[in-house]
Symmetry: C2
Subunit: 334 residues, 2 copies
């Protein structure tokens, strides 16, 4: 229901009174969640301008920057997501939306290169056609927080090629996925596939976000990692990635995604593993092992609600009539 | 100079510690003003997400919205300026950047339709070719705050046609200005021209900003007005507009621009005025009179510096080593 308060008299607005007047006119919306989001957005936008005394020239630079970010965005390159990633917003949103108990595998940023094109792969499939990479045998399991192996979990995996470039980033890309696979866990919760050892790469820095990083004296590198997205009925979708220990960018990821529990130590393949998993030849090959742990949707929903309520109380934003709906705070209606 | 603090260890970032870590990595910039702006920007962006518990879906809606705003923007339609206008940010930025003593004419929002194409017009020129509008004779003066008439002030004027549409908004627009004039004040500080009585108009609401207004239950109308931009050597540029009293949108301007001191009462033309200003025929014609008062650059600079310093102190943001440079607060360098 829309606010029943009288509409404001929008005249003679000043540095001091503009914010409450914008709130009053926006309060006409019938959507209480939107009203709350707009109230916080306008407050922070105006406070930002007041606290910096933002000049007309700086404002215009901001307008031009955001316009460029929009114009640079396409189906295969989302520059606003990149901006969100490099400002730490994506990591924050992921943490807010996908809380995890300490017993579960931690999530991290999705990044802008997930597609819905990973080809269905059979157990043990090779997901990359790049002959220049160092072969990597990935031996994984997935279980519940109570230690029960989980079968029939869908696992979407993606990584760059040996040059640090995702398939969709090539101008020549014509819808043929490379470095992507869609697997399924077996009855014992196992899944395994053949990939290449990931390498560090630069986030696309030839656009406005790259210019921003340059002005801030920041590098555009991400440490070597493989992305994973695990989905199974009744379980909270896990968006995560595994990072290599001792990567040169291990502690300076341009998008703030590294977590200690997601760092792995690769091993050299053993002759027994070569035989068991059908790794041909005797050239170098590394092995990555990881045991993923999923939490149920129910558990996550409860955690999300509890954390939202606790956080709102701590921020002093919780009041009479407030509710948590699907983990999101919604204020009382007038 | 860049911060000499050690770089942070960017790992295991959480809802609680992400903000200080993004600040630390951004502090590498050698530009202290940029560092301050980014520090405030990231703080407000993150606080906004934390206070709303912004969900992944809502974040993605935001990403798509901003992308659309960028894609909608062109040389003749700046949707990000429209967004800024409708969120009250433009009015706020204008008030911060262009403080005025109470003796001077108040400024207001520039809007997205100013061009640099107004044709040089002689005194008394007709600036619109729209035969459907009600003729309006504008009789103005410009003086300093001490009452001195100012000669050789350049006055850029623009308004819509009688349908409420600016020349550049027509798909058929081919660089031929209409509803625009560039005048100059005479030795007694006078300038006068022939226009049409302005009408209310909708801001362009067929794009993402229009969708936002709709979701908020807000109308897209601006009250009838004529824009003025006055420039003269040694004087602060005055960006303002004059509004008609009793306009249906007088107290609900979609972009928050109306100020009481900028509202005018039109008069019917007298036979003497018809003769004196060469208004042909005896059809209806209105007269607008206004006396603009400009403030010097020097006075404005002082006012801007004083207000910036006072505001920063009031916000508790002023500390040792802070300086005001061109009206903008700049923090101390480490």
């Amino acid at each position: 229901m829309a606010s029943s308060k009288p509409l404001p008299n929008l005249k003679d607005l000043t540095i001091e009174n503009i914010t409450t007047n914008v709130h009053a006119i926006n309060a006409q919306t019938s959507n209480p969640r939107l009203r709350y989001i707009m109230e916080r957005l306008v407050t922070h936008l105006h406070d930002f301008a007041r606290e910096t005394r933002l000049s007309t020239d700086e404002w215009m630079e901001g307008v031009k920057f955001l316009t460029e970010v929009g114009k640079m965005s396409s189906d295969v390159r989302q520059e606003f997501i990149l901006l969100s990633d490099t400002l730490g917003l994506s990591l924050l949103i992921d943490s807010l939306s996908h809380p995890k108990p300490s017993t579960a595998t931690q999530g991290t940023v999705l990044g802008p290169f997930h597609t819905h094109t990973s080809p269905s792969s059979t157990q043990g499939a090779t997901i990359t056609h790049d002959p220049s990479g160092t072969p990597l045998l990935c031996l994984c399991t997935v279980s519940s927080t109570s230690g029960q192996p989980l079968k029939d979990i869908s696992i979407d995996v993606w990584e760059t090629d040996s040059k640090g470039v995702y398939d969709v980033q090539y101008a020549s890309y014509a819808g043929q996925p490379n470095g992507r696979g869609l697997l399924r866990s077996d009855d014992e919760g196992r899944f395994w596939f053949k990939a290449i050892v990931p390498v560090p790469y630069r986030i696309p820095d030839d656009g406005p976000v790259g210019k921003m990083l340059h002005a801030l004296g920041r590098h555009p590198w991400r440490p070597s990692h493989v992305h994973f997205l695990l989905e199974g009925e009744g379980f909270e979708t896990l968006i995560t990635a595994l990072y290599l220990r001792h990567d040169p960018y291990e502690t300076s990821d341009a998008v703030f995604g590294v977590k200690d529990s997601l760092i792995v130590d690769l091993q050299d393949i053993t002759p027994e593993q070569r035989e068991m998993y059908g790794v041909e030849g005797d050239g170098p090959c590394k092995v990555l092992t990881y045991d993923f742990v999923l939490v149920t949707e129910e558990e996550t929903q409860k955690l999300r609600d509890d954390e939202a309520r606790k956080a709102m109380e701590k921020l002093g934003l919780w009041g009479e009539g407030w509710r948590i709906v699907d983990g999101l705070p919604v204020p009382d209606v007038d």
